[in-house]
């Protein structure tokens, strides 16, 4: 069983500790949720796992092999893909090319990259958008393009940074279905950062809760749902947590 592992990762910016001794593991086919309030260090952790940030202490390993220190593009070639909060699509390029770029980035020829990109758009369910300029897409479609782009070359792990932000209930449900297929059909390990806690509880096999750069709770959804620590530290009040859970659960 292969896994992507953050081993006691700490990151300090100019004396400020953004992460301290964070442990996290994602295995193939597993969906792991990463939640926590704003500024908890979730994106920093994703940056560490994808090579955008070098940990001050600790290490990232893939199947036991140490990865930290490698550049993002090399981690991507090892099969660790990600999406970004802001989307960061190649705005001036058509959708198909957005995917194609990753194909050629991974070493494919343009012809092969186009072929895979077309198949991938189909798989993600946005084939009709192929010729649209990425910068003109609505919000929801942008997320799907970003996911499609990240799935080029069949990565082993996919790190999704707030993919459901601003989505309606139906859209979030469609996204959940897609993420399930990614884990199930592709056997891809997924790390999901999300504010929509309901979605996370509903979808994930395992959840890690960060607060102020440290892991405060970890376990299966049921355990997180009931955790007093999480409720207290993360949400402040109990009522706030219930809302999204009910919404998605319905």
């Amino acid at each position: 069983m292969s896994d992507l592992h953050a081993d006691k990762v700490s990151v300090a910016f100019a004396g400020l500790r953004a992460l301290s001794e964070v442990d996290l593991t994602v295995s193939s086919g597993q969906i792991v949720g990463l939640i926590g309030p704003n500024g908890a260090g979730k994106t920093t952790l994703v940056n560490v796992l994808t090579g955008f940030q070098t940990p001050t202490e600790g290490a990232v390993t893939l199947d036991g092999q140490r990865l930290s220190g490698l550049k993002p593009n090399l981690l991507r070639r090892r099969g660790i893909a990600r999406t970004f909060q802001g989307g960061r699509l190649f705005r001036d390029l058509p959708v198909i090319d957005n995917l194609e770029v990753t194909g050629v980035g991974l070493g494919q020829s343009r012809r092969a990259a186009i072929a895979e990109a077309e198949a991938m758009l189909e798989w993600v369910g946005i084939a009709p958008l192929a010729s649209r300029i990425a910068g003109t897409l609505p919000y929801t479609d942008e997320r799907r393009v970003a996911i499609g782009r990240a799935l080029m070359g069949r990565p082993k792990y996919l790190l999704l940074d707030e993919p459901a932000a601003g989505m309606s209930g139906q859209e979030a449900a469609d996204l959940s279905a897609l993420i399930r297929r990614i884990a199930g059909e592709m056997g891809c390990g997924v790390l999901l950062i999300e504010h929509n806690v309901g979605l996370v509880l509903n979808l994930c096999d395992h959840i890690v809760v960060l607060d102020s750069g440290a892991v405060i709770e970890t376990g299966p959804p049921a355990q997180i749902r009931d955790s007093e620590t999480v409720r207290h530290a993360y949400m402040g009040t109990a009522t706030d947590t219930d809302l999204p859970v009910l919404e998605v659960g319905a």
């Binding site: 994106t43 940056n47 955008f52 940030q53 970004f84």
Partner: protein, 304 residues
Amino acid sequence: MGSVMQVVFDAASLGSLYALGALGIALIFGVMRLVNFAHGDVIAACVFVLLWPSVDAVAIVFAGNLPWFLLVPFVLAMGAALSVASEVVVFRRFRNANPATMMIASFALGFVIRYFLLMLYSSRPKSISLLPTLSQPVEIMGARIPLLQVITIVVTIGVLFGLTSFLRRTRFGLEMRAAAENFTMARVLGVRANRVIMGAFALSGALAAAIALILGSQTGTANIVMGANVMLMAFIATVIGGMGSLAGAVIAGFLLGAIAVVMQVILPPDARAFRDAFVYGAVILVLIFRPQGLLTARGTKERV
């Protein structure tokens, strides 16, 4: 001891020149993200305002005959005026353009200024006697150095202190610093953009004029391309100092001056001709190890 002091003075006076230039470039870059290639031509123009337009070999002195206490403010004012005019006429229309476009526009403007000077004064370098009393040697700590070198260093230090307290103490300076750090944010907070930018151009122009005075009295020559060399060095200093960081620009200016002088001193005669290759090699090294510059201005590093 005397000879070491001499080298220190040589390095400091050349460094001063580059530091003043770098400051002029960095001020405008700070508020506009514009690398102003016309700066060198503003320097040249400031020397030529001392002369009456003519294409003869012999220079006809015009403002150059004023006593120093009138001459210096006159040249500074001309520099500031020319610089502000370039903002109003040209750069104002490029506020939203990308840096490359602005850079080429500034280059084109410099081209226009240079050939305008050529039309008025011809391309022949002219000789001027600017502040001749400065061309006397003085003795300081065992080193006999030209008075002008001392004055250059003193003026530079004075300008640095003046500018620092101006930026720290006055409301205008505060606005300018805010704008240099984050222009959009500064505007939101009520900084008057046009005023700040014009102020930056005026200061930059006055700095160009100060360089013009130093260069003019040092070389005794008015030449339409005389600002180009200082401008290039200043530009390099601005970058290795950390774009947008005024202190970094000054430090890097001094550093470049020191490297150039030290190379001249330590290289064997056969290698001295290649001095510039070594200096630029050093520039590349600095950039490789500190791509963000010696002092990184806040807010210039991109976040994921």
